[in-house]
């Protein structure tokens, strides 16, 4: 069975139709990349999948492991294993990152019917994952994303992903704002999480991320739908030729 199955998805925001009949099937273990011009609806797709308010689904379906995603509350979707690494991570003043991570991990575990982690176990786990992503202890003590550099915010997203152990990871331009070393660190972090029961949807504008996270399938999105699908070579072609011709394809 497909891990993520999106069929003829239509969605609008503020009366404006953004997704216009989008189809996408991701099987367990696969990494898919979506590329496409600015404003084509990539972030919108990620928000609709995650259940953001204001994004109204007007047609079609989306399932995770065969279960209707669109009926669920955002936190239920997260508990079911959907994770979204935000294009623009949100700052939460006053809440220490460590507290946030712990609350998130335990909420998800509770909803999955698992035991909460003890404080020492949790700390050990966080330290380990943080180290892999070159995230310093000091950053974990600071309020979530507040005053973090662009790159730090993105690494923090991957840390959350690693801790929440999702089934389906959607990464929205996680590479933007990263320097060359950080890009490598983040890509390694993602690659470590690749597993046969886990799927990835990587939204990006640049081939260089896909040099590190090699996708199984590459899609081109334009005007709210997938207009072309191919292998990794498609990304190279786009890098060379740009999106000329796709703007009108839809």
């Amino acid at each position: 069975m497909a891990l993520l199955e999106v069929k003829d998805l239509h969605a609008r925001v503020e009366e404006k139709e953004i997704l216009r009949g989008l189809n996408l099937t991701i099987n367990p273990g696969e990494v898919h990349a979506i590329m496409g011009p600015n404003g084509s609806g990539k972030s919108t797709l990620s928000y609709v999948l995650a259940g953001k308010d204001d994004y109204e689904v007007t047609g079609g379906s989306a399932t995770l492991d065969g279960e209707d995603l669109l009926e669920l509350e955002p936190d239920e979707r997260a508990a079911k294993g959907l994770f979204l690494a935000f294009q623009y991570p949100i700052e939460i003043p006053g809440v220490a990152s460590m507290t946030f991570l712990r609350t998130a991990v335990n909420s998800v575990r509770k909803k999955r019917g698992e035991e909460e982690l003890s404080t020492p176990d949790f700390l050990r786990l966080v330290r380990e994952r943080a180290k892999e992503l070159n995230i310093k202890d000091d950053m974990l003590k600071r309020p979530v994303n507040v005053g973090f550099s662009g790159g730090e915010k993105k690494r923090n997203e991957i840390l959350q992903m690693a801790l929440l152990e999702p089934k389906m990871c959607v990464l929205d331009e996680t590479d933007s704002g990263l320097d060359i070393d950080a890009l490598k660190i983040v890509a390694d972090g993602v690659n470590r999480l690749r597993a046969k029961n886990r799927g990835f949807l990587v939204i990006t504008h640049y081939q260089r991320l896909l040099d590190h996270i090699v996708p199984d399938v590459v899609h081109v999105m334009a005007r709210g739908k997938i207009v072309r699908t191919g292998g990794p070579e498609l990304a190279h072609e786009l890098e060379a030729k740009g999106y000329a011709g796709y703007e009108n394809a839809a």
Binding site: L84, F86, I92, P93, T103
Partner: protein, 494 residues
């Protein structure tokens, strides 16, 4: 529906059931006739077997009050109070004054039990450590409508030389202390509500900690308004003599009623040389229903006088209840090197209106003050911080640090900050920081994407917001206060 929109909708649907203290106790009571004139004042004084001087004091306050106008400068709106349509005295019939626990009306005992207030003098709490909480004994003075019904641990306190009793008792048993200090911090003529209180105050707590004594346990008073249309006018007087220390906490609740209930308290603190008083409040009067009907009008005058050199007074408040809160716990920094602190969490939800803050009046040399205020507004509530920091000409090297933050939940509520700063001494250094933030839909969505429910998300953000203040509450009450905060914001998000 956007989360914030839902927030507003949910807040609208808050009903009185959420206020878990909204029950009423059925007991027989004795009341003064409705309305207020000299005979009411005489009635109250007589009921309490007060000496002549006390009656005179009250009557003078009453005469003065008749010439005064209700203040209108606060950012609160309410229907005019008809002072003749209230009862000024209501006492459980079975007892006229504080008794021992065995004699207490079982109905009243049951009430305090329901409120979770330990009236038993048991040792169960002593020394039990749980989750890093170290419980200690807490002595309680329980005030029910107009009278104090019981004070616990009196004997043990007496051994340490600490006087802890109802103010009525203190007037009879320690007139010299009461005469000396009552009205010495909040003068009889101070303001409309304080003057009214001076005329008709019914009961409250009295504490005297003698020289060099560190009070061996937390002291606390729990106020409960039970009777309909009855004003509660309590009076608290705390004196810490030279080098003494005391930590005191007050809690308050009221049943859910359709009509508004008036509460006009006066609290006076006096700290002599090198003494320290820590005064904490967890205010949870009935806030009114979803339509803004009912709820307590809370007009309170609280002031501490750092009379001695090197003295310190610290106010910590968690304000979650009342339809209207009008309250400015203040410090007069009279002694050289004295310190004043004000730590506040004020939450308004539904139709609540809060106008609260503090005054730090620097008179002595090298005095310092610190203000940390956290206002949280949800629903269609209005939340105002009003603060005054002033330095007298002679207050050289006065220091103040003020930090006042507001958090908005939803977009139909309001937060306002009104600081007045006045330095007549050129060496004064006053710092003021203020921020306003909002729990936005984006923030909620981000948290929910990480698995938190909407309520968990709000609790997380709010706890982060208030933690600097919560840590100043006595350990025993911090956990309770945290729960209370969560409850009072229940339903504030979808």
């Amino acid at each position: 529906m956007p989360a914030v929109q839902e927030t507003v909708e949910r807040v609208k649907s808050i009903d009185v059931d959420q206020y878990k203290y909204g029950f009423e106790t059925k007991i027989e009571v004795e009341k003064a006739p409705k309305g207020l004139d000299e005979s009411t004042v005489r009635f109250i004084s007589a009921k309490k077997n007060e000496p002549e001087w006390m009656l005179e004091w009250r009557l003078e306050a009453f005469r003065r009050w008749k010439t005064m106008q209700e203040p209108e400068w606060a950012r609160v709106h309410y229907q005019k109070i008809d002072y003749q349509d209230l009862y000024y005295y209501a006492a459980p019939k079975k007892q006229a004054g504080p008794k021992s626990l065995d004699e207490l009306d079982p109905e009243i005992l049951e009430t305090y039990k329901k409120l979770g207030i330990p009236l038993q003098e048991q040792e169960i709490l002593a020394g039990v450590a749980e989750e890093n909480r170290v419980y200690s004994k807490v002595a309680v003075d329980a005030v029910f409508d107009s009278v104090s019904v019981v004070t616990t641990f009196k004997e043990e306190l007496k051994k340490a030389g600490v006087l802890f009793m109802s103010i009525s008792e203190a007037i009879r048993e320690h007139p010299e202390l009461v005469k000396k200090y009552l009205g010495s911090v909040v003068p009889v003529t101070d303001n409309f509500f304080a003057t009214l209180n001076s005329a008709v105050f019914s009961d409250g707590s009295f504490v005297y900690v003698p020289k060099g004594v560190r009070c061996p346990m937390e002291l606390s008073t729990y106020f409960r308004i039970n009777e309909k249309q009855t004003g509660q006018f309590e009076r608290t007087l705390i004196i810490a003599d030279e080098g003494a220390y005391v930590s005191y906490l007050e809690g308050c609740t009221a049943p859910s009623r359709d009509e508004n209930q008036l509460h006009a308290a006066v609290v006076e603190l006096v700290a002599l040389d090198n003494a320290e008083i820590k005064y904490s409040t967890v205010q949870n009067w009935y806030p009114g229903d979803a339509q803004g009907k009912g709820g307590v009008y809370n007009f309170v005058t609280k002031r501490g006088d750092c009379r001695g050199n090197g003295s310190k007074i610290s106010w910590t408040q968690v304000e979650t209840g009342s339809a209207i809160t009008w309250k400015y716990p203040s410090c007069i920094l009279r002694g050289d090197n004295s310190q004043g602190e004000f730590y506040s969490i004020a939450i308004s939800n539904g139709h609540q209106q809060v106008d609260s803050g503090t005054k730090m009046i620097h008179l002595g040399k090298n005095t310092s003050s610190r203000i940390i205020s956290k206002g949280i507004a949800a629903g269609v509530s209005q939340n105002t911080y009003r603060g005054q920091v002033s330095a007298h000409r002679k207050a050289t090297n006065a220091r103040n640090f003020t930090n006042c933050d507001s958090l908005l939940i939803g977009d139909k509520c309001g937060a306002h900050t009104t600081p007045y700063i006045e330095a007549k001494s050129s060496s004064a250094v006053f710092e003021h920081e203020a921020t306003t933030s909002k729990i936005s839909d984006d923030m909620l969505f981000y948290c929910r994407q990480r698995g938190l429910s909407a309520e968990e998300a709000v609790a997380l953000v709010v706890n982060g917001f208030v933690k600097d203040v919560l840590q100043h509450l006595p350990m025993e009450f911090a956990v309770e206060a945290q729960k209370l905060i969560a409850i009072s914001l229940e339903g504030s998000v979808g």
